[in-house]
């Protein structure tokens, strides 16, 4: 049962994961080798190559990475929930002999795991590239990457917020959109804090964890009480 459900979810999010990896790949190439023909941002007039690049401090990577990571998190969350609504498959899925909490929990587990792995890969590649001497003319400390890793984990708030929005009753322009909007705002606050004077500190991770747990609790509550009409 676990394996079947995990494979089903994996199969359903894999398209988004592949698209995300391609986008991340382009962002990473753009940061490492701005003159590469694979840097599609050049064709869009968004090369943004900097002579004074300092990885994770002043570069072409972090801003784009945050932006696309947030988009990917939204795509994952909505696809896993709203996708079932659009295809009309909720009645089939929810009638399987498993608790609703387990079914939603499996969706969250697979979705967040795939999202985190897919998003961690480019960050790791860029981190190792930055840590390799001779690749750029600026100092590097691993602590410089902490705020990006905090942002990486903070994006789970957006993923869970999008997931909650996907199963919420109500109208999109009203209460339904609220969890996602609140999640985006929370991530802004956390990332801004992590990038400010507290650079290098891991304490925002505790806030992220607390917010994640709160949204997951809400997801389970809404999943249980929501009408799948």
């Amino acid at each position: 049962m676990f394996r079947s459900m995990a494979l089903k979810e994996l199969r359903e999010v894999r398209v988004i994961a592949v698209v995300a990896m391609i986008i991340y790949g382009i962002i990473t190439i753009a940061a490492i080798d701005p003159r590469s023909p694979l840097n599609l941002f050049n064709y869009l007039g968004m090369s943004g190559s900097r002579i004074d690049s300092i990885p994770f401090v002043q570069d072409n990577f972090v801003g784009k990475f945050y932006f696309f990571a947030a988009l990917v998190a939204i795509a994952f969350g909505l696809w896993q929930t709203f996708g079932e609504t659009v295809r009309g498959t909720y009645p089939f899925l929810l009638h399987r002999p498993a608790s609703r909490r387990w079914l939603m929990g499996m969706k969250l587990f697979v979705g967040s795991a795939v999202y985190l792995i897919a998003t961690a890969v480019p960050l790791l590649i860029y981190s190792f590239w930055a840590a390799t001497p001779g690749n750029h003319a600026s100092p590097f400390e691993w602590s410089m990457t902490v705020s990006s890793w905090v942002a990486w984990s903070a994006m789970t708030i957006i993923y869970f917020g999008a997931f909650l929005t996907g199963i919420m009753p109500g109208r999109w322009y009203q209460s339904r959109f609220l969890p996602l909007a609140a999640a985006i705002f929370a991530v802004f606050v956390v990332v801004a804090t992590a990038n400010s004077g507290l650079n290098g500190s891991l304490w925002p991770c505790w806030i992220i964890l607390a917010v994640d747990v709160w949204i997951i609790t809400m997801i389970f509550f809404v999943a249980q009480s929501h009408d799948y009409t």
């Binding site: 079947s4 295809r87 009645p91 089939f92 399987r96 608790s99 009408d227």
Partner: protein, 309 residues
Amino acid sequence: MPDVIVTHGLTKYYGAYCALDSLDLRIAQGTVYGLLGRNGAGKTTAIKMLLGISHPSYGRAEVLGEDSAQLRPQTRARIAYLAEGHPLYGWMTIGQAVKFTRSFYDRWNQQLLGQILDHFELSPKRRIRRLSRGQRAQVALALAVATDPEVLILDDPTLGLDTVVRRDFLESLIQIIQRRGRTILFSSHILGDVERVADRIGVLVDGVLRVDCPTDHFKQSVRKVVLEFEGPPPELPPCPRLVNCRPVGHNLELVVVGLNGEHRQLFDSLQPRRTEEIEFNLEDAFIEYTIGPRRGLPIFSTEEEVADV
């Protein structure tokens, strides 16, 4: 026989709109129950609440003795459900859909599943998105039956199927019914289908259960009486259980539930030149019954109420 499906005042509001109004229903074990109603009558709403997919505004429902809102996975495994439109994952092959569904059940009749798929000539390699609507229905039915359920709930299972596929689907359903004491609840608005398989029917009109009785009893209870007059038909005095009254030329066409001596006496008092009583098949009985002034429809739920037909 114990009751397998029970509802107590089951009510559902969507905002101010009442989709289902105080549904009280008891379906005994082994019954094949056809839930009828026009579009928007509340059939799907009732079924979704029976399965805990939707929550009642008031009242409660029980299936296999358990509150529908809190069905345990073990109980859910004993109930098969075919949702309207037979939703399945289009990207799966039939084989993958079988594997996925099977993983949730301890009890699984692979042999029966194979027989049904063979009968419908469905290869496990075929992708569900490429199947016709009828073939999807067949796969959904096979998956539902393979779980060897005690209760089978089907929401408009033949909707959108052509006549031949529908017939084939129903034949399979009849075979399934014949297997030991299964209880089947199915909604439909194709009356011919219901007539063939259901031994009891319920008719929902605007969210209210107006009829709950054996199928044959319903057919016999709704009658048309045509009174022919010399000239224009006279005003009809207040008549109990009158569903519809239409003047057509020199005739007065009346649809009555539970036609009895009292009615006949009343009609005779109008001194018609000729009186004709017409029996209906289920479809005509249903149409005549539901086409009338809905709020004023007579409710009948047992044989006794109209025993003097």
